[in-house]
Amino acid sequence: MEEKLSRRVGSWYRGATGVVAAEKLSGGASQETWRFDIVHPEGNFGAILRRAPDGHGAAPSRAAGLNAEARLMQLAFDASLPSPRVLHVLTPEDDLGVGFIMQRVDGETIARKILREVEFADARPRLARELGGVLAGIHSLPGTQLPELRRMTAAKELDESERDYRNLNWPKPVFELALRWLRDHDPGPPMEATLVHGDFRNGNLVIGPDGVRAVLDWELAHLGDPMEDLGWLCVNSWRFGEIDKPVGGFGSREELFAGYEAAGRRVDPTRVMFWEVMGTLRWGLMCGGMMQRFREGPDHSMERAMIGRRASETEVDLLGLLARRGS
């Protein structure tokens, strides 16, 4: 890896003489993430490679694709949103498959640390509002410059959820109740379809003591209802125990909405609630999907198996949303 990167680094990073300290951070069958340092006379520069190795270029149906991800990150960076700068989009000459190289942003992505460690104490109370502003910025990125993305509606998302649920072939009355509720409360097409990040939550946000430093992982980006991102961010699964702070365990919906509206966009709280219910169900279905992949291989890992037993967390949360009991 270092050799391949070193061979071409001079062509996309001016003055670079090589690449060191390449280390694979994560890798599934279809995508890998590597960290490495670009060697430069003025000092080394931290970088990240996201790539689909040769022969694994085909993206799953929901994924935007790595070239689209690179384009979106660059657009976000250009709009002064917290985003890594994209340094290079891979070409056939790189001989590294499909993907891109970006600046490595220092900070923390692990929610439990961000929610508990003292170095983030000053940032935490500000994050809900700040994230509202970042989302408003993402939703305001000019449609004409966006790459080709799939178009989603509440109705399509519901159809896919129902199909995924039926595929599990395991009766879950609470999921049935949620599907029914979602059908009955489908808000219809949004006033304005915008870019939707699709996975804007703890884990995909780089946070520093100064606040949000980068939004990562645009894999699920699509065009649709901007309120989807706000609802997904409020799903209980990303609060990591801080259940009275719906926005990622950081703060209130009101703070999120205020940050969003201060950046010049309107919030529709009814739609946000719809997408929070949808998001909770979707995460439950994703837990089930990972269990299926454990069963069918090739990833026969214990972690995948155990995630199947987290679907019930979303059931208690769905009941909390739809059938709240007296306090």
Partner: protein
């Protein structure tokens, strides 16, 4: 009839050994994997301990809700269908209470430390 020790005693003994004797010896990614393995054994132990009684009560509730007899799987399939068709909803007498109890019984095995489960549990106990 099988002899003792019971499966519960066996899984618990293995989990205790891994937790007490092996975990302190390893680090890094394997320590993470070991934690997952211990969590799995703990879950299996909880299921072996709790499932029979909670399933029996669930079947009892389902039989009374649906007015029919059957296995826990059969009755859950019927309930799921009735909700999907709109024949049962939250205004159906006893449905919300049944779903809450059933879900709480799942969490007691799957993820007893999940914060929203613990809050509901405290509510049940009136504390």
């Amino acid at each position: 009839m099988q002899d003792e020790p019971t499966p519960i005693e066996l899984t618990r003994a293995v989990a205790d050994f891994l937790r007490g004797d092996i975990a302190p010896m390893i680090s890094g990614h394997n320590a993470f994997k070991l934690r997952v393995a211990i969590n799995i054994l703990d879950l299996v132990t909880r299921q072996l301990t709790l499932e029979e009684a909670s399933d029996a009560k669930e079947v009892e509730r389902l039989a009374s809700l649906l007015g029919m007899k059957g296995s826990v799987m059969e009755l859950n399939r019927v309930l799921a269908q009735r909700i999907a068709k709109g024949e049962f909803d939250l205004s159906t007498t006893g449905l919300a209470e049944h779903l809450w109890q059933t879900t709480m019984d799942k969490l007691a095995i799957d993820q007893p430390n999940y914060a929203s489960y613990r809050r509901e549990l405290a509510r049940d106990k009136g504390t």
